[in-house]
Symmetry: C2
Subunit: 487 residues, 2 copies
């Protein structure tokens, strides 16, 4: 067996083998029993929002589409699989020839999405739709998790800037790079991660570390040099020694010197330890007393949305926030439980709906290929989403009637709906991307616009209102019938 312990695998490897072994063993089974080319449809959805969240921000689609576009088994992939002793040569030949032919519909990245609705719908052969399951879940679960966490942090700051500082605690290099991207989509203003800046065009920002100050005999000299080198981007870290007696006075001295030298930058400091509420108020008062009316005061140190909300409640004089570990790992709940389930099988040119029934009715999947329509009231605020059978023609104007998702024999309404918009778009058709990649700025704006349009009750940090997802009459009747047949 060849062992390659190098950390540099990503420079040499495609991602075709980024799959659970059982996908490959099942694929070989489908192939062997003549069912590999059976057309099927899968839905990606999640059942639960992250703790206390009223919505999720979808992210990770671009990574997934890039993976789809480059999905090929290399010679070394085949050689590795051959060594497992599990697969027939003829199946390995089939893998060599394999090219994706599937079609993907998805909510555009940066869309707000909700439990139980398809965020991604994949139509393809049984073979290829199983192959991609693990990679799809890996990429979309993680990036959606982080974008959603970032959105909550930004809600806590009431729109004040959030600098993402999580590189050193992210789960590996790509956890950091794709995590920084997702954090920006969700609402962060910048990242400290330079590679994420280069690769994804996320704005980069940073200050200096305590080590800069410690490398000088004098804090004042350290500040002076930093201000001289970066006059336009000068955020001074004031807590290396004593924030009140040394850090803030030295920073004021340097900002005054810059001012006197004809360089009237906005004075900016960072607090990274201690009682951030108290210290920020004292620092603010000192800076105002020194004639700096509007200082930028950045706080960091194991912050999350709850700590930020609490600091604001205490009247902390902080107006920019550095958030690291808790954001990039979604510390309080570091996984989104998105799943990918079979919803339909094509037989005799007809899509037959499939449903996984469970003893727990809440865990039953929504059957059939779908379209999703988001309804807005006359003011443009979203009022709820409705899942339709793909073959139905959704109502796109005026009030709309459907069924309750959990109890599909009951009716449900969006009475204040004024218009509807399709959520899912075709992004990959018959194995080919159907539109160019979007810039991260476009995606971030989409998320921000959608959050702005969302009513306040869905944006509370605790006990948000539950956004309604109903079934169309057609889908509701189908689900009701299928639940009855399975009982």
């Amino acid at each position: 067996m060849k062992s390659d312990p190098s950390g540099a695998w990503h420079r040499r490897e495609g991602l075709a083998l980024l799959t659970d072994l059982y996908e490959l063993t099942m694929m070989a089974g489908y192939w062997e029993t003549g069912r590999a080319d059976q057309p099927v449809s899968f839905n990606y959805f999640f059942r639960d929002l992250p703790p206390h969240a009223g919505f999720a921000v979808s992210a990770g689609l671009e990574s997934f589409l890039d993976y789809c576009e480059h999905l090929r088994f290399s010679e070394s992939d085949i050689a590795y699989l051959r060594r497992q002793g599990l697969f027939h040569e003829a199946f390995l030949d089939y893998l060599v020839q394999f090219r994706p032919r599937f079609t993907v519909q998805a909510a555009p990245e940066g869309s707000l999405v909700y439990p139980h609705e398809p965020v991604v719908q994949v139509d393809g052969t049984l073979f290829e739709t199983q192959l991609i399951e693990s990679a799809l879940l890996n990429m979309i679960n993680y990036q959606t998790l982080i974008a959603t966490k970032a959105a909550r942090v930004r809600l806590a700051t009431d729109g004040e800037p959030v600098m993402e500082f999580g590189l050193r605690r992210a789960h590996g290099p790509d956890g950091a790079v794709s995590g920084s991207r997702a954090a920006y989509i969700g609402g962060c203003t910048s990242t400290s991660n330079v590679l994420a800046g280069k690769v994804h065009d996320v704005p980069v920002a940073g200050t200096h570390a305590h080590s800069w100050v410690m490398s000088y005999q004098s804090e004042l000299e350290a500040f002076r040099d930093f201000a001289r080198i970066y006059p336009e981007k000068c955020i001074l870290l004031v807590d290396t020694y004593d924030t009140v007696r040394s850090g803030v006075p030295n920073a004021i001295t340097v900002f005054r010197e810059m001012h006197d030298a004809g360089n009237p930058v906005r004075p900016a400091i960072r607090l990274d330890s201690g009682d951030l509420a108290k210290l920020s108020k004292i620092a603010h008062k000192m800076m105002v007393a020194a004639g700096f009316e509007d200082p930028l005061i950045v706080a960091s140190n194991d912050l999350d949305e709850d700590l930020i909300a609490d600091l604001k409640r205490q009247g902390a004089k902080i107006n920019a926030w550095g958030v690291g570990t808790h954001l990039i790992t979604a510390y309080d709940a570091p996984a989104l439980n998105g799943v990918y389930k079979l919803v339909a099988v094509l037989e005799n040119e007809t899509w037959l709906p499939k449903m996984k029934v469970s003893s727990n009715i809440e865990k039953a999947t929504e059957p059939a290929r779908k379209s999703v329509v988001r309804y807005f009231d006359a003011d443009g605020r979203p009022v709820g989403d409705m899942l339709y059978l793909a073959e139905e023609s959704p109502v796109l104007e005026g009030p709309v009637h459907g069924r309750n998702r959990l109890h599909p024999h009951r009716t449900a309404h969006f009475e204040n709906a004024a218009r509807g918009e399709h959520l899912l778009q075709v992004v990959f058709r018959d194995g080919v991307r159907t539109r160019p990649a979007e810039s991260v700025h476009v995606i971030r704006s989409r998320a921000q616009d959608q959050m702005d349009a969302l009513a306040e009750e869905f944006k509370r940090l605790r006990n948000p209102e539950i956004y309604r997802v109903h079934l169309s009459d057609g889908l509701g009747k189908l689900k009701d019938r299928m639940l009855g047949e399975s009982a």
Copy 2:
């Protein structure tokens, strides 16, 4: 600004920019103030073990060394930095010319390591030692976190096999691949992640999903086909419909047919839902009654070390374990708080110790370049570690005396020490690797051997004994003096 939203960055990019922006701005500052080539020494250590852990399993060194070996700024890296408008052209030229010259000492991967001791020590210029900080922390914090979590899971199973199933909830593709590697080092038996198998030679294993069974009209037919295709690796998932009334009886039928056909494999089933304690006992009894004395019963479904220990306490008849989300994300505490601190500065050919003093004495760093000696009793059990000044000659035989780390004016002893071994080894000298990469199997064996040698009280899942880390007389005196001077 060029935007590259592709998810495929890892195929094109080096990792030189995998750093926090402030490292680069400080580097430019050191360069501009003529201090970039100042020789310094940094220590990587962590202050707290993961919750309830009595030890950590070091991992991630190989990824870090590979990063070091390939550390170059590409033309496109430089072009990106130029666009930031922060850096002088002469500094960018300096980056183009940059080649690592630093030296790394480290505990070999798979070593058990403890709070406050250097796991990695880097000697180099101020410039290069700052550059690598973020990447070192990213890789070693994450992989050590996951290896440690895996070790705890394996302790909970009392050595029974653990299959790592976390790909779909890992933080991105590399979170999955390097996480699977770390999980194997910590004690998992296999991974479901085929790419981790190919890249790192981790054994791969898997069963089938509910979708396999659902793709048939009959569960029995699904099992028959799977057994026919994979007679040697046939673990049947029995909970798609009704575990007791359908899944287990159908599995027994198939295993009996295999047996009758002259293929007496060990019958193996997997339970993925419901009351695992109760269902495993019922399934075990049914299989024994059917003449299969020693069935393999795999359980999965959101397991972690605490649930496993509780299932074993209830007498569950489970003898192999599939663990996913909770392992690959270290769900209960998804970040290791490792840090990287300046410990010495070379002036006039003498290493001057440095210490970050804090109002909280527990957060003061241990000053000076160090060596670390692990002491063992006459039975080969580790009794504690001692941090020495690099220039001291450690005692390597018999009882040893030193100082208490937190209260260095007090003495401390390892009275039952029989012999000592150096923990840190030179793995990278003057910019060049000093030994080939180790295979993941060698690393895993090291971890397993060290865990086997460790006394039981350090391996409890709750309230483990605290492993002792003392200071040598020389280091203790130095720290005591430096604390006094700073007071």
